[in-house]
Symmetry: C2
Subunit: 276 residues, 2 copies
């Protein structure tokens, strides 16, 4: 864990924009053949998937709003910035293919932190076969900002929207909810009661919650599968919680929703945390 | 011209994210048929142009780095945030088709300023037939940030890169340079010598420089034409000045460059400004 000003070594202020781009480019694996022009020109050029539609989404992580450098490593932040976008593409029934990274860096950011952030993003990208096609780097006079755009593809009849729900449909979530929030609350409590960066939780269940907060795993295969099989009539990313998602989906689908609170699939560790 | 805290009326802090998205969506004209899913779902879905490659670029305007709210109206900022991206697509020989808008708003931003920013962006978008497909809004604990991604298209044989130059090629710029910088310097000088927002320049030539700084006009038709006709072997957006562009293009094209300084096409008003 590092915070601004704490790390030793070179900082963003010591490097120019070109040097930073070169530094990032050197970490990016060679692109696949669908990327005609990659990092380093005025724009990237890519071949779209034949017969597919483009899925386009952008989501930013802002320091002090979406993350705290005491709670997340630079690699966690890079991972999460890509993950939240992949999750949006998956919830449309699509597959993520390319990413653009727009970085806004405070001048005192350690270059080693930038490297780690990139590696965190590239680790997830490699696993999901997403190519980093390009992006932008600029100085930030305020927070660290990691703004990612993901371009995916979806077959025309496989698109899932929020508005496809009909009266009588059942409502599912793809996992067990509450773990990330429990993890965040645990980290906050550790920071109140201890000095320095929070330790790794000794408790295995709480460790899982903290991991879910730091490194959410986008349901990319499941999203594409739900689009392909039409097993779902509507779909939505749960980024702002279950209650919000139900309100949004009901509104878009012009229907109501009835929830049996006892059936909410709460993560057991989260359940234990919130019941204590 | 408005600055944080100076305007009356509702502010970003008074509205929720959903209300802001709804506010923006209400200003966006109905999309054309290639946009299958627009603003308001987890991601946008669009039909790619048949037989074309995708051009992808992202560029952010950060308050205090790329703009000053004393010098530019919210509408100027919205216009410029789109223009710099369109310029990148044009320099690849491509045509801009869709945009994503990622906004980071300080809580004290007036909602009327957000409206004007959107209208400034949409004004240019309408003129260039670019659809606003989606985006993201978040709070900023620091500067106002307008991060735009543009998705364009280009035919495979029409791509212009920085690296296509060969020894013996002539070097051209598409207009006369220096006007935007002269305009910015004029605005700065006005701010030093007067209180409040700078007035509109009485001098017609200086007014043109200020306009070039506030509302750069991307050379979108010319870029697409250079790609189509192959009149250029290489091309680059001049965002960081002529000297930088020549260095970048020479390096990418593995060649040198010889410049007759007297032949630089300096804008006459800029020439007068810098000679004074």
């Amino acid at each position: 864990l590092s915070s601004p000003g704490s790390a030793t070594g070179l900082r963003v202020a010591d490097a120019g924009e070109r040097a930073l781009i070169e530094r990032i480019r050197s970490r990016v694996p060679p692109p696949n053949s669908s990327l005609v022009v990659g990092i380093g020109d005025d724009a990237a050029v890519a071949a779209p998937e034949r017969g597919a539609l483009q899925v386009l989404t952008t989501d930013a992580l802002v320091e002090g709003v979406h993350f705290d450098r005491r709670f997340s490593t630079p690699a966690d932040i890079g991972h999460k910035a890509l993950a939240v976008n992949v999750s949006d593409v998956a919830s449309m029934g699509g597959a993520s293919r390319l990413a653009l990274l727009s970085l806004m860096l405070p001048p005192d950011t350690a270059l080693s932190d930038v490297d780690e952030l990139i590696d965190g993003l590239l680790g997830l990208a490699k696993r999901l076969r997403i190519g980093l096609a390009g992006g932008n780097i600029t100085r930030s006079p305020g927070p660290l900002v990691v703004d990612v755009t993901v371009i995916g593809s979806v077959r025309p009849r496989r698109i899932l929207t929020r508005g496809g729900g009909r009266a009588g449909d059942d409502l599912y979530v793809t996992g067990r909810i509450g773990a990330a929030l429990a993890g965040l609350e645990w980290l906050r409590e550790q920071c109140r009661t201890q000095s320095g960066a929070p330790p790794h939780p000794a408790d295995e269940l709480m460790a899982e919650c903290v991991e879910r907060y730091r490194r959410p795993e986008p349901r990319s295969r499941l999203g594409a599968m739900l689009g392909r099989t039409r097993a779902a009539s509507a779909c939505m990313d749960l980024s702002d919680g279950l209650a919000d998602a139900i309100t949004q989906m009901s509104s878009a689908s012009r229907t109501g929703a009835k929830l049996d609170a006892s059936l909410r699939p709460i993560h057991p560790s989260a359940d234990a945390w919130f019941s204590q």
